[in-house]
């Protein structure tokens, strides 16, 4: 579709003129796109960060296999080999009951030192720490170990917490996706209506254009430009809100950073990428809306 620059200029001029002539409808559509994109932006920022935090936590998920106290060294060796032979397992690390004791004491801090007196009576088990290749497989692997393996006293992997985290994440993604799709279609519908009105206002002009041999693309372009403009205008405010809002939250989060495990995605490049995505969604909504409404009018 080779087009002369002069023609392109004409299409842009026409598109701008149309938007200006129907300024109230333009304003309404831009407002619709703005609302949609604002919600999309907030939602995406939330989902991406939840995902980020969740994957951080997921990566820390390990299965601790506590070895039966009665197991002898041979049996322990057998268990170790069986664990390493499991599918989807990334690593199996042995941790002796003495090491377990040390870890426990360290994690208890000052209190731990007091407990140090009881080191001789260490009640802990030897343990294998199993890490899954995919965090999602953790629960399945743990179940296999519980049911099929001998010499295992207990298996620990923060069952409920991991399970809930996965469930919550999945629900959040589905609900969010449905919400966004519904909003996007509303915005497309509003834009296509706006453009339909500018088309009706120019129906006679289109009829004559076709009569004198204008190609469909020649007729379509100004409306295409108009849709694009509506989409881009609608994305300005959401992007501005995104930048200021995220900056503010990011600053405050790092100020009260005792929740070390809750790390937000870093402002750069995340906000820039998200802004680009919002702009793209805006443009797609606009163009789609205009293409939809022009299609009907170009038959014959």
């Amino acid at each position: 579709m080779a087009m002369k620059f002069r023609t392109l200029k004409r299409h842009f001029k026409e598109g701008l003129k149309n938007s200006w002539r129907n300024s109230w409808m333009t304003l309404a559509s831009v407002a619709a796109v703005t609302t949609t994109l604002l919600l999309v932006a907030v939602f995406l920022a939330l989902v991406f960060n939840l995902n980020h935090i969740a994957s951080g936590l997921e990566e820390d998920v390990q299965i601790k296999v506590l070895v039966d106290q009665t197991a002898n060294e041979e049996e322990m060796e057998e268990l170790s080999e069986e664990l390493e032979g499991l599918d989807n397992v990334e690593s199996v690390v042995f941790s002796s009951r003495d090491e377990e004791w040390q870890d426990l004491m360290t994690s208890m801090g000052d209190q731990g030192e007091a407990w140090g007196l009881f080191e001789q009576d260490n009640p802990l088990n030897d343990a294998f720490v199993v890490t899954a290749e995919e965090p999602q497989d953790t629960v399945a692997i743990a179940n296999v170990i519980i049911e099929d393996f001998d010499y295992v006293e207990r298996v620990n992997y923060g069952q409920d917490f991991v399970q809930n985290l996965f469930t919550f994440n999945n629900y959040a993604r589905i609900v969010g996706a449905v919400l966004i799709i519904a909003l996007v279609f509303t915005a497309i519908f509003l834009i296509s209506n706006t453009i339909k009105i500018t088309i009706i206002a120019r129906r006679k002009e289109i009829e004559i254009m076709k009569l004198v041999g204008a190609t469909n693309w020649f007729i379509r372009w100004p409306f295409f430009v108009e849709g694009l403009l509506l989409g881009i205008l609608g994305s300005i405010l959401p992007i501005a809100v995104l930048f200021t809002g995220y900056y503010y939250i990011d600053q405050n989060m790092s100020a009260v950073n005792q929740f070390d495990f809750v790390q937000l995605l870093p402002f750069t490049p995340f906000v820039w990428q998200l802004a680009g995505l919002i702009l793209l969604i805006g443009a797609v909504i606009g163009v789609w809306g205009s293409v939809m409404s022009v299609r009907k009018f170009l038959k014959v």
Partner: protein, 228 residues
């Protein structure tokens, strides 16, 4: 220029407008199309510039097969055909100059070429001095001349006029006929649908009479009338 064989047209609502048309129109001819309202004249005209597509048969216009034609080639066909209507179809907010230039902008002519050609065709219809007027400031006859100038801008080989004098008084009608004759004199084929007995019987040309979707008479230097 135009060949039709066994052309039939039935509209989606079941009305059969044309019921087997055979016709041959040579380049440079001037043809009157006569017949009652509803006889099929408008459909005949619309088939030629493919505003409607025939239900069956064969149509060739300027060596293009209209039934086999792809959508993207339709604009190319229309650039070879100028169309003039009874109600002029001018854009009211544009000047005379802009109305004519519009036809050339659409085919992406250069601004220099557009300027030159617009003044040329306006001169041809005698409206060079009214280029800056808007259609409402002109008489009916003048508006029709603008429409003719627009139709001629792309150097069409065929000019179709659908009752071009239908809204005009007799004196003005003769002015329009004079311009059409001049255009025909330069080699452009003209097909003109009309209800004017006076015009047909005075400026004698080929007459094609349509009645009930059929050609009932095709006569060179014929007279007005479409009774079987």
């Amino acid at each position: 220029m135009i060949e039709m064989q066994q052309v039939k047209k039935t509209y989606p609502n079941g009305v059969t407008a044309l019921n087997g048309i055979d016709i041959n129109i040579d380049p440079g001819e001037f043809v009157y199309l006569v017949g009652q309202s509803g006889a099929g004249k408008s459909t005949f005209i619309k088939l030629i510039f493919r505003e409607e597509i025939a239900s069956s048969g064969q149509i060739r216009v300027n060596n293009r097969d209209l039934l086999e034609m792809k959508w993207k080639d339709v604009p190319l066909l229309r650039r070879e055909i100028g169309v003039v209507y009874q109600d002029f179809k001018l854009l009211p907010k544009m000047t005379v100059y802009e109305n004519v230039a519009f036809a050339l902008e659409v085919v992406e002519e250069s601004p220099r070429q557009i300027r030159k050609r617009v003044m040329e065709v306006l001169d041809q219809v005698g409206l060079k001095n009214k280029a800056r007027f808007i259609p409402d400031e002109l008489s009916g006859g003048e508006q029709q001349r603008v429409a003719i100038a627009r139709a001629m801008a792309n150097y069409p080989k065929l000019l179709i006029a659908d009752e071009p004098t239908g809204n005009l008084d007799p004196d003005t009608s003769w002015e329009i006929m004079k311009i059409l004759e001049e255009i025909n004199g330069t080699g452009t084929t003209i097909i003109m649908a009309t209800h004017s007995k006076e015009i047909v019987n005075t400026i004698k040309r080929r007459v094609i009479a349509v009645e009930g979707g059929l050609i009932v008479r095709d006569q060179h230097r014929g007279e007005y009338g479409y009774e079987v």
